[in-house]
């Protein structure tokens, strides 16, 4: 399911690239006759992406049609029985809550990363990194407050010192 969602996104992206992004994002240049311009290659790739994404979306449909033509359809009773057999056991409330948090965790991490980037622009490396460390450790399930505090203070400062003083990378 996720792979088809990804293909759908890229099908749309391919079309948007050809229709809007490339014409707006690449200025038309003078090109001698029988030569290709700067828009040509991104256009070819965008069309190819659209075609391949469409093929990814169509392949399971075509296979299903072929399978139905070559094999008889299983009865609905069998499929319900199989479904019942394969159904997961009832989860406990605590486990469900834990699973729910873990499912949410990547999205929380993405939000933290977004905020980390903004903080890097607004308040600089040390404060932003201290925030990112605390937040990510909490999302990863760490609740050892002394460890979190020590790492949040020590790691950004040590990294800053290593980058700025030793490697002369002006991160601040």
């Amino acid at each position: 399911m996720k792979d088809r969602l990804f293909a759908t996104i890229f099908l749309i992206l391919g079309i948007v690239m050809v229709v809007w992004i490339i014409p707006v994002g690449i200025p038309i240049a003078f090109v001698p006759p029988r030569q290709i311009g700067p828009q040509f290659w991104p256009e070819v790739l965008s069309v190819a992406i659209t075609v391949v994404a469409a093929l990814i979306l169509l392949t399971p449909v075509l296979r299903r049609i072929r399978d139905r033509l070559t094999h008889p359809r299983p009865s609905s009773q069998t499929s319900i029985a199989e479904h019942k057999q394969g159904a997961p056991a009832e989860h406990s409330h605590e486990k469900r809550a834990k699973d729910g948090f873990r499912r949410l965790a990547p999205w929380l991490t993405i939000a933290i990363i977004g905020l980390y980037f903004l903080l890097l622009v607004w308040v600089g490396f040390i404060v932003a990194s201290a925030f990112a460390l605390v937040a990510t450790m909490l999302v990863f399930g760490d609740r050892r407050w002394w460890t979190i505090a020590i790492l949040a203070l020590a790691v950004p400062f040590l990294m800053w010192a290593f980058a700025v003083k030793l490697l002369h990378i002006p991160i601040s």
């Binding site: 990804f6 990814i56 991490t109 999302v139 990294m159």
Partner: protein, 503 residues
Amino acid sequence: MFADFFAGITLLFQWSVLLANVIGIIIGTFIGAIPGLGPTIAVAILIPVTFFLPIVPSMMLLLGVYQAGIYGGSISAILFNIPGVPAAAATVFDGFPMAEQGRAGKALKTALFASAFGNAFSCLVLLVVAAPLAAVALRFGPPEIAALILLALTVISAVSGQSMLKGLLVGLLGLLFSTVGLDPIWGTVRLTWGEPELEGGFALIPFLIGLFAISELLVQSGRLDPLVVMEKARTHESGTSRLSKDNHVSFLEMWRMRGIMLWSALIGIFIGILPGIGSTTPAFMSYALARQRSKTPEMFGKGALEGVAAPETANNAVTGGALIPLLSLGIPGDAVTAVILGAFMLQGLTPGPFLFRDHGPEVYAILFGLILSTIPTLIVGLMLLRYAVKVLKLKRSTIFPIVLVLCVVGSFSVNNSLVDVGVMFAFGFIGYACRLSDYPLPPLLIGFILGKTFEEAMRQSLLISQGSLMVFIQRPIAAGFLILSVIVLISSIRLSRRMYMRN
């Protein structure tokens, strides 16, 4: 050639080179042992450190991480039944039973010796093969280069992941990302949206740090299971206790396995040369071969020494094999060699046919150094056996937040720009989306890396031929590469159809 070779040797024998290599081996062993991390992420994060080192020490540092990283993966595989890197998956079959029998030390030492042999042998082949191949490639014109890159991209799309279409889609996406920046022929600015820092295109290092390290961070944050190996290392039977019994591996025991180790090394080198397959497949192939050739196949899966030696030789021999197309043709075979390609380029060395001609001494120093690094690998590996187990006790919640901050420093340091940090995060999300939906990452990375060269070579060919595509067919080498691409494409489609019918 010989003058370059001897000049290379003089560059090699310096304390800084040895020190850099030993540090690389230590870091690689530890990081390889931690599941989820691995040589690709380790090399990517360490690249900024190499800005401030001369060429030879910096490459020996990164290649030390690469070589030792794959061996490091066998430590958690043998002790806790969980491979640190995917390449060590086949080592689990006999390594873990040996550990359960109290022979973990013997298994780890066998893995180390086999890894060192695989490394040394493959690097020797690299030393012999790469320069002549580069000399042949020097005769390639733009049509041959374009056709060769097309072949590499076709192979990598076909063999990475389970579906060729998925590999193809992300490969095309990588090519599309490479079009951002200046047009290689007319110099027109493309798709930068007024951001001057993007005129040179997306920087490689933030791109790959995002694609691999940030996406791994996101994957790990969503794992329901705490990293089992680390839990086992902390709570279950301690790894060090398994090191206490039958630890000795005699020369005779290794000598008895010379045949299978040689075959495994050859398998590793051959597969390493082919783009996109990686080091997991040859490890399984050599394991199967070892079992087939063994006089006691019934012992496999129960703690056979050959069952550890064969996959470890093969997965380490991939390193030298993968460096052959990288150094001689400029085509990276997998993610980690793509990262190393980035490191070469940042040092002002462009892998490809001109590398041996323009930077002969440095390249020979690196190649010869790779062979000699077997000695520090063995010494450091033996010394680190006990300590590597301790690293596994580190919590995931401690490691990955630190990796996040390291990634920011690494990306920023390329151009001292926050735009690169933004690029890294953006590609981290894209990488995560790919992994979530089962789309392979290597074609995306290789497509991005080779995209500019591919477009340039293709358009130069069309300039030469006044816009006629016949230029790719009239030149025999280019036509040969195109025919091979079609064969790969057709075989891949037939194979996937056969697999579908079987299922």
